[in-house]
């Protein structure tokens, strides 16, 4: 490991790997900093398939997808610091100074550009106000996935799963295949969060019931979970009195949302967008702080890893270009109009190449047969019909916005 780099990538998951490869291929000296003992990020434990349909036209498992990038990192001889954690980042006139801790002790590294690829953490039980003591047997789906797939440990005999997002559905199947009884998947909303094909191949295939409009309100048990109390909820997610039911179990698996991990960004006073919970970024994935780029789930939660990799490729290329030649950006905001829940990017740099401007959008509702529209100066310059819209699924559009003058507006009409 050297003392200075052109670009330091924080996070060695799919976003960080793609960013590092792209930055290196564009001439930057790159360091990947990863807190775990191996590259790959969350993909190491996502042993199911379905990854890479867009990027490779293949249905790969998470590890296979990650290894394609890891092999490239090896081939390009990109420096990697594993089991290394960033304690602190300081900005100065020359760039950034990182304070790292690892088994070798504390060391400092300087970098001109920083690429944040720190992914997400999972929402926990305390954050969704489940009452009860703190017995063993309550864990997030990702934690259960790590225990089963990486450590070969079985955390459950009889499990209740709260949350019907893809992670919860995948773990319903995984735990069943490893011998647990999954009593049911409970979902507070009236519609399932995960993909229809996952309801089919994870729940229907195994006869696991899905209980919509039902949530877990209380845990019962002191040392180990003994049961949970479930209740039906209204459309507004208010528990309906009189619908309480006790479900005996020894494990509660929580799949109740992902939160972008942006503590480092916040410590650098980087402005965070309330809709994405990630840094505001322009179309080159440059945040509002000069020299700091962001990619992947820390920028905005994605459902397809292919888009995470695309984020990384853009951020890496942009960081390398910026290190080569720093310039003043000419930023215009992207207004979000009708139907948009969140949008990346939130700014366009008029000084950059806008010929292939990519937007990753989230709708504010489920619907079908809508049109994604981009307007500049009041005129629609891009339209795309979208057949099926789900709040949980990212919509990717690519538009030629070269020559745009005033601000842009994106909407789903």
């Amino acid at each position: 490991m050297k003392d200075r780099y052109d670009a330091a990538v924080i996070g060695g998951g799919p976003a960080g790997l793609a960013a590092a490869i792209s930055a290196k291929e564009n001439g930057a000296e790159v360091l990947i900093i990863e807190r775990e003992n191996a590259l790959g990020g969350i993909l190491k434990q996502c042993i199911h398939d379905g990854f890479g349909l867009i990027r490779y036209g293949e249905k790969l498992t998470g590890p296979e997808y990650a290894w394609r990038d890891i092999e490239k990192v090896r081939k390009l001889e990109i420096d990697t610091a594993l089991l290394t954690f960033v304690l602190d980042v300081r900005a100065d006139e020359d760039g950034y100074e990182l304070v790292l801790t690892s088994r070798e002790g504390i060391r400092k590294v300087r970098t001109a550009a920083l690429i944040l690829a720190t992914g997400c953490r999972e929402r926990t039980g305390k954050q969704i106000f489940i009452h009860g003591d703190r017995p063993a047997g309550i864990l997030t789906a990702g934690c259960a996935q790590d225990l089963v797939n990486l450590k070969g440990q079985m955390p459950a005999h009889r499990a209740v799963i709260l949350g019907s997002g893809d992670i919860g559905l995948i773990m319903a199947r995984r735990l069943t295949l490893e011998g647990a009884e999954v009593i049911g998947v409970y979902e507070a909303k009236s519609r399932p969060g995960g993909l229809a094909r996952n309801i089919s191949q994870c729940l229907d295939d195994y006869g696991i019931p899905l209980h919509l409009s039902t949530t877990v309100t209380r845990t019962i048990g002191k040392d180990r979970l003994e049961a949970v109390e479930v209740m039906k909820v209204s459309e507004d997610l208010e528990p309906l009195p009189g619908t309480e039911e006790i479900v005996p179990c020894d494990t509660l698996i929580l799949s109740v949302g992902l939160i972008p991990e942006n503590e480092l960004a916040e410590s650098l006073d980087i402005r965070i967008c309330p809709q994405t919970k990630g840094p505001y970024a322009d179309n080159t994935l440059h945040t509002l702080k000069e020299g700091v780029f962001s990619a992947g789930n820390c920028l905005s939660v994605n459902d397809l890893v292919d888009y995470v990799s695309e984020n990384g490729m853009i951020a890496g290329r942009s960081a390398a270009a910026w290190v080569r030649k720093k310039r003043e950006r000419d930023l215009v905001p992207v207004k979000t109009g009708k139907g948009i829940g969140s949008c990346v990017p939130q700014y366009l740099d008029k000084g950059s190449d806008l010929k292939k401007t990519v937007f990753w959008l989230r709708s504010d509702t489920d619907d079908h047969d809508r049109e994604a529209v981009i307007r500049t100066g009041g005129n629609a310059v891009f339209r795309k019909k979208i057949r099926t819209i789900r709040q949980a699924e990212t919509i990717r559009i690519e538009a030629d916005l070269s020559g745009m003058k005033e601000e842009a507006e994106v909407s789903l009409e």
């Binding site: 379905g50 349909l53 498992t61 450590k151 070969g152 295949l177 089919s200 295939d205």
Partner: protein, 117 residues
């Protein structure tokens, strides 16, 4: 008339298969093929983990090289659970040949063992 959700791609089209094996609701040909396969002989990919003798890599991800009959998946996972990998295999190499007589191999999904000294 049978209703199936297609699992081939994230679209998850709602397919309808008539008594005459006509398929509707699919956005592509792969969906039509899936529907017919699902009616005749439903198949799935198996993905699980196998133990190894390597102390820094106690469990590694494996998959079936192709799809096997859906009903055999739980048994295939149990079979894979008995296997202990003792050679440094690389992605695509065979862990278990011809799982449960299906003609499909179980292959490894990681190159981490190749980096073991």
């Amino acid at each position: 008339m049978r209703e199936i959700i297609c699992i081939v791609c994230p679209n998850g089209c709602e397919l309808k298969v008539g008594e005459d094996f006509s398929v509707s609701g699919n956005l592509c040909e792969r969906g039509r093929q899936f529907a017919l396969q699902e009616i005749r002989d439903p198949r799935r990919t198996v993905t699980t983990v196998c133990r190894t003798v390597f102390p820094d890599h106690p469990f590694v991800p494996v998959r079936s090289a192709g799809e096997i009959p859906k009903d055999l998946v739980p048994r295939a996972v149990r079979e894979a659970g008995k296997k202990i990998i003792d050679t440094p295999l690389g992605i695509g190499e065979t862990v278990i040949e011809n799982i449960l007589g299906t003609g499909t191999d179980i292959i490894i999904c990681t190159n981490e063992l190749k980096e073991v000294r």
